[in-house]
Amino acid sequence: MFCDEVLELVEAIAAGDLTPDPRVMTHVQSCAGCAAALAAARRVDGLLKQRTTPAAPPQFTTRIMGRIRRDRWRRDQFLDLGFNLTVGVVLLFVLTGFWVLLSQSGLGGISHDAANILGSAASDLMHRAAPSLPLYLAASAIVATALGVWWWAEKDA
């Protein structure tokens, strides 16, 4: 029975977590089984202390920083998308409300006339701007390219 009690303690004694009372040590000295168990426990403790400590691979920090940047970019994109969708939905609600208000208040007729005026003004503007259209297109292409390069650089960052 005493052996069972001692065998429960050998790991704690081997690790130095427990100072055994003299009764236990006297038993260990006289019992071959418990002495072997204590020696084995000390050996296991020693082997565990000698285990090799694997070090992180050399490029670990660079790789994790890259992964964090990608993760942050993805989260930013998600937030941007959410923000844009919210703005779109709010705008849609405002326009719908405006349209309903115009229809119900009878101001729709007036707004129809206003739309005609705006349409003819836009058509006139288009006729005037037509000769400069290639210039506008080129400027738009430059702006689009610049935005594309910025997006690509942010994506890889």
Binding site: V10, E11, A12, A14, A15, D17, A36, A37, A39, A40, A41, R43, V44, D45, L47, L48, K49, Q50, R51, T53, P54, A55, A56, P57, F60, T61, R63, I64, M65, R67, I68, D71
Partner: protein
């Protein structure tokens, strides 16, 4: 790490200072990697899991209140990642005799070095047969600088329970290696 420096580093990370986070990674990468490499059953996944730990640290830093030490909080994340990695994996049933090192070779050459090598090989296999929580304890406890108190706090265990579990883990190892240790 000094608590003042630790607090400052966390604050810089929270402000989005990339250099501060890089410093944090450099300070903890070896410790995190070592615990994971020793605990994960699939050693090839150790780097992915270690990256996952730092990703969680980065996401969680804004919510880190600083009530525990940073290292304790990091151990807790490591423990969660390791436990999640174990879920869904089959328990190891590999025999301690399987593998490249043969006991007969040791007896024939009778060299102490080789028998030590074999013993270490068997120890690793015996550790792989331990339950995940015991494996994590054994992996973390025997790393330099990791204290009982930090582990107990990280794993939400009373100090006495942690020590008891560690002793039980080692008792299992001793029993698994009984023949080799004689």
């Amino acid at each position: 790490m000094q608590p003042v420096h630790e607090h400052e580093l966390v604050e810089r990370c929270r402000r989005g200072d990339e250099g501060a986070f890089q410093e944090l990674v450099n300070q903890y990468k070896d410790l995190v990697f070592a615990i994971i490499a020793r605990t994960a059953r699939d050693a090839s996944s150790a780097e992915d899991l270690a990256q996952e730990v730092f990703l969680r640290i980065h996401r969680g830093l804004p919510y880190f209140r600083g009530e525990a030490r940073l290292s304790t909080w990091i151990y807790r994340i490591v423990a969660n990642v390791c436990v999640q990695e174990q879920q869904g994996r089959k328990p190891v049933t590999q025999s301690l005799d399987e593998g490249s090192l043969d006991r007969r070779a040791a007896s024939s050459s009778a060299t102490r070095e080789l028998s030590d090598l074999i013993l270490r090989d068997r120890l690793e296999k015996a550790i792989a047969r331990l339950p995940a929580n015991y494996r994590l304890l054994v992996a973390a406890h025997y790393l330099q600088g990791v204290r009982y108190e930090d582990l107990a706090e990280a794993l939400n265990l009373p100090l006495g329970t942690l020590k008891t579990q560690l002793h039980r883990a080692k008792r299992q190892l001793r029993r698994l290696l009984e023949t080799e240790l004689k």
